[in-house]
Subunit: 193 residues, 2 copies
């Protein structure tokens, strides 16, 4: 739970003893590359904190293709939050992009954790506010940038991330075909030479 | 503060006396139609709770046109959350679509409110989680639906809202010209007749 301990400490004051007492509320799970953490249409009763690795969040389009809408790497929480909050079936799937170590927090455990450690309200408030502010900015970018501009934006803003994820997933996230992404990268490379 | 009292009560347990004691943390402001609650590039140190009316959230594009990215009506909080959290300049403007009554909560007041009434952590956690889950779903829709499908989605899901906001703002939000929106509506009407 090292990554999570660090993450909690960043946003709320909590003792070592309390952090240790919280451990049983989380379960540590590992996933192989391409393994599903959450299936579409499955009842969504858990949140995932990435300790190690990278996952993608996607939905299956009418033509059967998977459309990537988000990623999560170390120290990110992810799930279908709407389904999690409303106790309903997930409209999103989550898949390991790399071998992953993940802390799973079920809704029941989260409720109990917040009752037993009310100071965790501040932690979950802060991460939800940060997630919402990132999503609000992303919605603005979806209006503002062409797909090609979005590629350059992500490449310049998150260079390590763009290197890290497989290109076909990055292409899907940006709304490209993999071929078109490779063309843009070639053009950008030639411009620099 | 009636709308806010109801809203807080929905998400956390709090007494009448406590609610009354919170009143001084908020300031009530009214805005005329088209008046700005928040300017782009202005330092963003406040959140807005709509008591009565409707506002739109926008940014100015390179060509000078205002692009609407969101709306907020009664019982919604709004601001540029990224700028609010990072104490920076707003990348979004907020404008009254109708005459509005708004409760303003500055960052300083919010911090003090959370120190003095820690049970409000649960309220702000819950509204941030709900806002994030709505944004996550909206990002999915931006990938999934054509602009025309998005119009029908919003019309069927939020019929009163689609009736309430001026059509040129709805068109901007959906990424249309007002003329194209009127064409879609006409076609849809003719199909029903």
């Amino acid at each position: 739970m090292d990554e999570l301990r660090q993450h909690i400490r960043r946003y709320c004051q909590i003792s070592d003893a309390e952090l240790s007492a919280m451990a049983p509320y989380f379960s540590l799970q590992t996933f192989r590359k391409r393994e599903l953490l959450l299936k579409e249409e499955e009842r969504c009763d858990r949140m995932f904190f990435v300790e190690k690795g990278c996952v993608c969040v996607f939905f299956t389009k009418d033509n059967g293709q998977e459309q990537v809408v988000d990623f999560a790497i170390e120290q990110w929480w992810t799930t279908d939050f709407g389904a999690f909050l409303s106790h309903s079936k997930s409209r999103l799937g989550i898949k390991a992009v790399e071998p992953c170590t993940v802390l799973v927090l079920t809704r029941t455990s989260k409720d109990k954790l917040l009752r037993d450690f009310p100071q965790m309200e501040q932690y979950f408030r802060t991460i939800a506010e940060k997630a919402y502010s990132a999503a609000q900015h992303r919605i603005r970018l979806l209006y503002e940038l062409s797909r090609e501009q979005a590629y350059f934006y992500f490449r310049d803003k998150f260079p390590e991330f763009v290197q890290r994820v497989p290109q076909y997933l990055l292409a899907s996230f940006l709304g490209f075909t993999p071929e078109y992404l490779s063309e843009i990268r070639k053009r950008a490379f030639l411009k620099r030479v």
